[in-house]
């Protein structure tokens, strides 16, 4: 059923790719409508995937968090920035010696893709790899600077400076830590996380998906709407601020705009009837 003749309906896709932070949950709090929407889509035989710049958790940890929110998915459907970067580095450069400033899973993924993880103060590393790092300190900043001054290349899981937490409070992300390192060294980090094409095209290629059959759902105009739009996907922008924030100067307009997942769910339910 089409709500607007000649336009796409929310149900006209075979695959729904959700962002996580600021979309499905806000820190420890689930988004209203998330559980209902994801189970309705799954019940309708749609494929539900998750593509996130999260670099602090493993897919298994995300599954457990989602389970606690009554959202039931498989770890293999969760695609995270740590894995994307580990894989990209191996595809592009083979096995590397990597100094890693990030959480345990980032280290683990680098090792799983045949890289050798060395201590952050070992300046024989080929690259500095940085993710969101909850144990980041001033000394860690000093070591990151030394890595880059020793000739290491600078890779980050993502360039997001923040993601929304509970009540919209900004939670610092990888890009904020990278900004400190860049300020000292003048070096710009390289990322393959959203909005960069690799994040989307590697997912589409792996699962043999046609971009035209996929809808990306997320809260970030830059990473989710522009990134997915550039990769040929339709997009659903979650904009709690309302119409006044609708972008006019962006090349890819969102296909759909809703305040949040509760309103997406209500519209999908209308379309199903």
């Amino acid at each position: 059923m089409e709500l607007f003749p000649g336009m796409n309906g929310l149900l006209d896709y075979s695959t729904y790719i959700f962002d996580l932070d600021g979309c499905v949950y806000f820190g420890p709090e689930p988004a209203q409508g998330a559980s209902g929407l994801i189970s309705l889509l799954s019940g309708l035989g749609k494929r539900v995937l998750f593509l996130s710049n999260n670099s602090t958790h493993s897919p298994h940890e995300v599954v457990q968090k989602l389970q606690s929110m009554d959202i039931h998915v498989l770890a293999s459907d969760i695609h995270l920035a740590s894995t994307l970067l580990a894989r990209y580095l191996h595809e592009t450069h083979g096995s590397l010696r990597l100094a890693v400033a990030g959480e345990k899973f980032l280290h683990k993924e680098m090792a799983r893709f045949d890289h050798t993880v060395v201590p952050l103060d070992d300046t024989s590393a080929d690259c500095l790899v940085m993710g969101r790092y909850l144990s980041f300190t001033f000394d860690c900043l000093v070591e990151c600077v030394r890595q880059l001054e020793s000739g290491g290349h600078f890779y980050v899981t993502n360039l997001d400076t923040h993601h929304p937490g509970p009540e919209g409070a900004r939670q610092p992300e990888t890009g904020a830590l990278a900004a400190a390192v860049s300020a000292v060294t003048g070096k710009t980090p390289f990322s393959v996380g959203k909005p960069f094409p690799y994040a989307f095209t590697s997912l589409l290629n792996d699962l043999a998906l046609d971009s035209r059959d996929c809808l990306m759902i997320g809260d970030s105009l830059n990473t989710d709407v522009q990134g997915a739009g550039n990769a040929g996907l339709d997009t659903c922008w979650l904009n709690p601020g309302g119409a006044s924030e609708t972008p006019s100067d962006q090349p890819n307009s969102p296909t759909f705009t809703f305040p949040g997942l509760a309103e997406v769910l209500a519209t999908v339910q209308q379309e199903v009837r």
Copy 2:
């Protein structure tokens, strides 16, 4: 005695204002010639002052450090960014409630200038004040962001992203930490440290100095040469990289350029003869 007729000689000043980091010392190592130059100038009856964006130490601690390098000066001749900011805030706004991300002396100076220092997570503060903070952590970044989201104004002791340490290695400075906070919040910090005029004019006013009688000696083209030049001072740029790095696109050319203090000392000794 003039080395070059019609031009200033290095001895044509009554007052010599030295930068500290990257000028008089590199981390724990004294600069070659520093001790000899400073004692020669003092012996010639010149006034020797220090103006630094250092925000981690007190003047008394700097005196002790200089003493260990055989440089003997008074604490009252050392002017640091922590004091400048504490004083500026009081002159401009009166007593404030300040959340302070910085070392002990920064807290102490804020209290000395009648401000109330509150914990970093107390969002009732009027301002966030940030200095070089060796105990900076990810959690501290979160608290700084929360301060600014709660409406606090953002002040930093200085905007330097780094200063030179031993063997030229870049030591992260206040501006690098501020870059992380700015990346998340989009808020630009306000500073009165070098190169901003307040750093120079408050020193000149306090000591009733004429800018034309003062020579600023430092390694930073931006903070020392441009900042002092804008305040009407002649400048001596320490440029270990040699002539190839001489600036051409800066409004204030340095009055003198030397590789380091050893060469300044040698030239002053020639002028004395």
